[in-house]
């Protein structure tokens, strides 16, 4: 189990990471989510031993302070793979095995296994320069797994890829990590990637850990408005508008509330409790996305089934879906 206690990192005197404490149980995948410049990569590098940090980073209650990177038994996979360009795919994947003096026949066997695991069987003789971005990431993953690391550190493993490939590879990554039973720490700015791969979620902002917990829990109960907006909630309401939306969703709440609302929380419904005037409408393949000026609430996002075609200026009625909003306080 990885545990961090009040870990801080400073770059040239300015804090990059401040008092981060968290635990990662064995076999789980933790996604550290944060906007760029939030210090999430610094956290990863501190765990890897690539940054000088204060506080305690421990594995199974053994303090890792002063243990150099190569003796931590963690594998690190970079955003762009960092394959060794002068080595073949097989030599790249076999690199950590060679360091551990694994005999050649066993090494060859293991490399083949790992390449098959990442879906690149038969790629042994290729050079990294001849691979596509997705293939390079798979090789990098195979190389990292070859270590049989007690902890796999992934730095934005899919960010360098295009959207379609990212979705497919995220699912593959999850399957591979589960199949290998690997404990992993993943750093990303993309919530979709985090949801697709991780069991637990940690949100980092401005060098501080804002929230940490199982993915569903973090997702349903963001710690504060900023976190909610970062996690993909469309708007955060307070005061009367918040009360109106809560009432429409049939949620009872005493006193003033702060409510985070997803884009799809308001749905077009003829018998809905809310009324408003359509300001914008845009059809997408699955649904129609609306911006509605809701009476007593203000401008809100809403969706309609693709069969409905409300135009701007049209009066509509809306219902609120209580699963798609979150009471922050």
């Amino acid at each position: 189990m990885l545990s961090l206690r009040e870990v801080s990192v400073r770059y040239d005197g300015s804090p990059a990471l401040t008092d981060v404490s968290l635990d990662l149980p064995d076999g789980q995948v933790l996604a550290v989510l944060g906007p760029s410049g939030s210090g999430k990569s610094t956290l990863l590098r501190a765990v890897a031993g690539l940054e000088q940090s204060t506080g305690t980073i421990a594995w199974d209650d053994r303090d890792l302070t002063g243990v150099p990177t190569h003796k931590r038994g963690f594998a690190l996979m970079f955003q762009d793979g960092q394959l060794f360009g002068h080595l073949t795919v097989a030599a790249n994947v076999g690199y950590p095995l060679r360091l551990r003096h694994v005999p050649r026949p066993r090494r060859r066997e293991r490399v083949a296994e790992l390449l098959a695991l990442v879906g690149l069987a038969g790629y042994e003789r290729r050079l990294p320069g001849t691979l596509s971005g997705g293939e390079r990431q798979r090789v990098a993953l195979a190389r990292a797994l070859a270590v049989e690391p007690r902890l796999l550190l992934l730095d934005e493993p899919l960010s360098a890829l295009d959207a379609g490939l990212r979705g497919r590879l995220a699912a593959d990554l999850r399957a591979i990590l589960v199949a290998a039973g690997t404990t992993a720490l993943l750093v990303t700015h993309d919530q979709e990637e985090a949801y697709a791969v991780a069991d637990r979620l940690a949100v980092v902002r401005a060098g501080r850990l804002v929230q940490e917990g199982p993915v569903a829990q973090v997702w349903q109960r963001p710690a504060d408005p900023e976190t909610a907006l970062f996690l993909g909630y469309a708007r955060v309401l307070e005061g009367a508008p918040a009360a109106a939306v809560l009432a429409a969703a049939g949620v009872g709440h005493a006193g003033p509330a702060t409510v985070a609302v997803r884009r799809s929380a308001l749905v077009l419904a003829e018998d809905g409790p809310l009324s408003g005037v359509v300001a914008q409408a845009r059809a997408t393949p699955d649904q129609v996305r609306l911006v509605v000026d809701v009476d007593g609430v203000g401008e809100m996002d809403a969706v309609a089934g693709s069969a409905a075609h409300p135009g701007p200026g049209e009066k509509v009625r809306l219902r609120a879906d209580q699963d798609r909003l979150s009471i922050l306080s």
Binding site: A48, L50, P68, T69, H70, K71, R72, G73, F74, A75, L76, M77, F78, Q82, F84, H86, Y95, P96, L99, R100, R143, A144, A146, V147, L153
Partner: protein, 552 residues
């Protein structure tokens, strides 16, 4: 008519325009480099107006020539090896670690490289006859070896250091995270990535060692001769032009071969964004490298300190008399003009040579960095690039003597022209200028110019907006290099400068050749003045933070 807003480089198309841009430098190189060298070599092949190839080949069979060749090869190889062994740890320490006075140390290590070779010779003689006389090194090949290493350490530190500095640290970190110890990371990741830079620096150092003139002449005397000094002795003392021509030709072939190897291994530039490596604080594991760096620093500082102390002493007492004597002509009429006049002349010639080298170098750099659209154009560009590197390795002695034998009759009678020496020095400095400007020009993303054009900037405007801000620093830096190189140039100048208008390095050599404590003291003082001048120029260059010499 549609006006095409394309930058200068994009507007001029095809090999014709490539040649047009390179026409002036090519013409200058043809007249002042190819012609003299060919003339000099030709004179050896046709001693009495008819071809005598057999005579030249006979030269190569002489035992003395074999001795000279063997001496050149082994000293150059040994000096290159020692330079690499000392230079690599220093390159690491000075480019990857945060050590105090990093910039000053870097500039200090660069000084020997531009120090006049004669001064290097004087400094080591002073060291080996003074404080280190007990080692009995003076007059042995070891002294020459020490001088060559001293002279070339900067090349390794700069070239490999620049590559090391721009090396992406992440592959190394990835390897460390996979379980590689620092030593294994160095062996399996860092070294392969640095290999082109190391091979490149090594071949350049070998080249410099093999064609070194001043160091070998002042430290080796008449006992030990390299190919370069042998050419000098054959032409000036023995008037054996055939022998000199044969050696020149041999040297030319070796230089071309080495330059080709250098061009092959020159690091390829990729435009991908790299994570900049932040220099880190030294750890305990860096102690060996730090120790070597200190050793190298001492090795560089010791001769210079000895030189300085020697120049400040007369008969064992502290005195400025040696410096005061610089406005005299020395004892026993060693000189025709006072040394101060020579310094004055040196500075004036250096300014002229610098302007010439900069103009030519800029034209060359612009033409060899133009985007080549066809294979023929690319090949032409490659040939031009290699052509302008030739003066780097061709014997300055050959060049100087070639000037004398070919530019002495109409239409080009330049024997008495004040431009003769500046032109020769500009040619020697040209490769340094080109090698400093080319990386800067290559570093400019062509899309920047395209972006400027798309925003409505005309060709000149685009150059002003995109190229000039990037180029002015390297331009100033290369001016500094050219100035320093010209100030210290000795090989060609020793042929071309007359007694009544000698430059300072020539004056120093002449003072050394004349007996008398006063002459020797004056030589030391003049060396210090010359060293200080070049050191100041180098400090200014270092402040410009241009990765100069990085891709020689």
């Amino acid at each position: 008519m549609e006006r095409r807003h394309l930058p200068l480089g994009g507007r001029l198309r095809g090999p014709v325009t490539l040649l047009a841009l390179a026409a002036v430098p090519v013409a200058v190189l043809a007249v002042f480099f190819v012609l003299p060298v060919v003339g000099m070599v030709g004179r050896g092949f046709r001693p009495e107006g008819h071809w005598d190839v057999g005579g030249v080949l006979d030269v190569l069979a002489r035992p003395q020539v074999h001795r000279v060749l063997w001496f050149t090869v082994w000293t150059s190889t040994a000096a290159t090896a020692v330079t690499l062994v000392l230079g690599l740890p220093a390159a690491y320490v000075l480019h990857r670690l945060t050590v105090p006075l990093r910039r000053v140390v870097r500039a200090a290590l660069l000084v020997p490289f531009v120090l006049p070779t004669v001064v290097v010779g004087v400094a080591f003689r002073q060291l080996f006859t003074g404080p280190l006389a007990r080692l009995h090194v003076d007059g042995t090949p070891w002294a020459i070896l020490a001088g060559l290493v001293f002279f070339n350490a900067a090349v390794v530190v700069r070239a490999v250091g620049a590559a090391w500095e721009s090396l992406d640290p992440r592959p190394g970190e990835a390897a460390a995270a996979l379980g590689a110890s620092p030593g294994t990371v160095f062996r399996t990741v860092t070294l392969p990535a640095l290999r082109p830079a190391i091979v490149g620096a090594g071949s350049v150092v070998f080249l410099f060692c093999a064609t070194s003139f001043g160091v070998v002449l002042t430290l080796g005397g008449l006992r030990y001769a390299s190919v370069e000094t042998e050419i000098y002795l054959l032409t000036t003392n023995l008037l054996d032009l055939q022998g000199a021509a044969a050696l020149s030709l041999l040297q030319l072939l070796v230089v071309v071969a080495l330059l080709l190897i250098g061009a092959r291994t020159r690091p390829m530039r990729t435009s991908t964004q790299r994570a900049p490596a932040r220099p880190r604080r030294p750890r305990r594991g860096d102690l060996p490298q730090l120790a070597v760096t200190v050793l190298l620093l001492a090795f560089v500082a010791l001769p210079l300190a000895t030189l300085l102390i020697g120049s400040l002493q007369v008969d064992g007492h502290w005195s400025l008399a040696n410096y005061r004597a610089l406005d005299s002509t020395g004892s026993h009429q060693a000189l025709l003009e006072p040394a101060t006049t020579a310094l004055n002349l040196s500075l004036r010639i250096a300014v002229d040579a610098t302007l010439l080298a900069l103009t030519l170098g800029l034209l060359v750099a612009l033409s060899v960095t133009r985007r080549a659209r066809t294979r023929g154009e690319r090949r032409l560009r490659g040939i031009l690039d290699a052509l302008f590197m030739l003066p780097l390795g061709v014997s300055a002695v050959t060049l100087g003597f070639g000037f004398l034998v070919t530019l002495d009759r109409p239409p080009l009678d330049l024997r008495d022209s004040p431009w003769l020496v500046p032109i020769a020095q500009a040619l020697v400095a040209l490769p340094l200028v080109v090698r400093t400007l080319v990386p800067a020009l290559l570093g400019i993303d062509d899309r920047q110019r395209q972006a400027a054009a798309s925003l409505g900037a005309g060709p000149w405007r685009a150059v002003l907006v995109v190229d000039v801000p990037v180029l002015w620093r390297p331009l100033l830096a290369s001016a500094g290099f050219a100035f320093a190189a010209s100030l210290g140039e000795f090989g060609a100048t020793s042929f071309l400068a007359r007694d009544e208008n000698a430059t300072l390095p020539v004056v120093i050599y002449r003072l050394l050749g004349h007996p008398g404590a006063m002459n020797y003291g004056m030589a030391l003082a003049a060396s210090c003045v010359l060293a200080a001048t070049t050191a100041v120029v180098m400090l200014v260059v270092e402040r410009l933070r241009v990765p100069s010499l990085g891709v020689l």
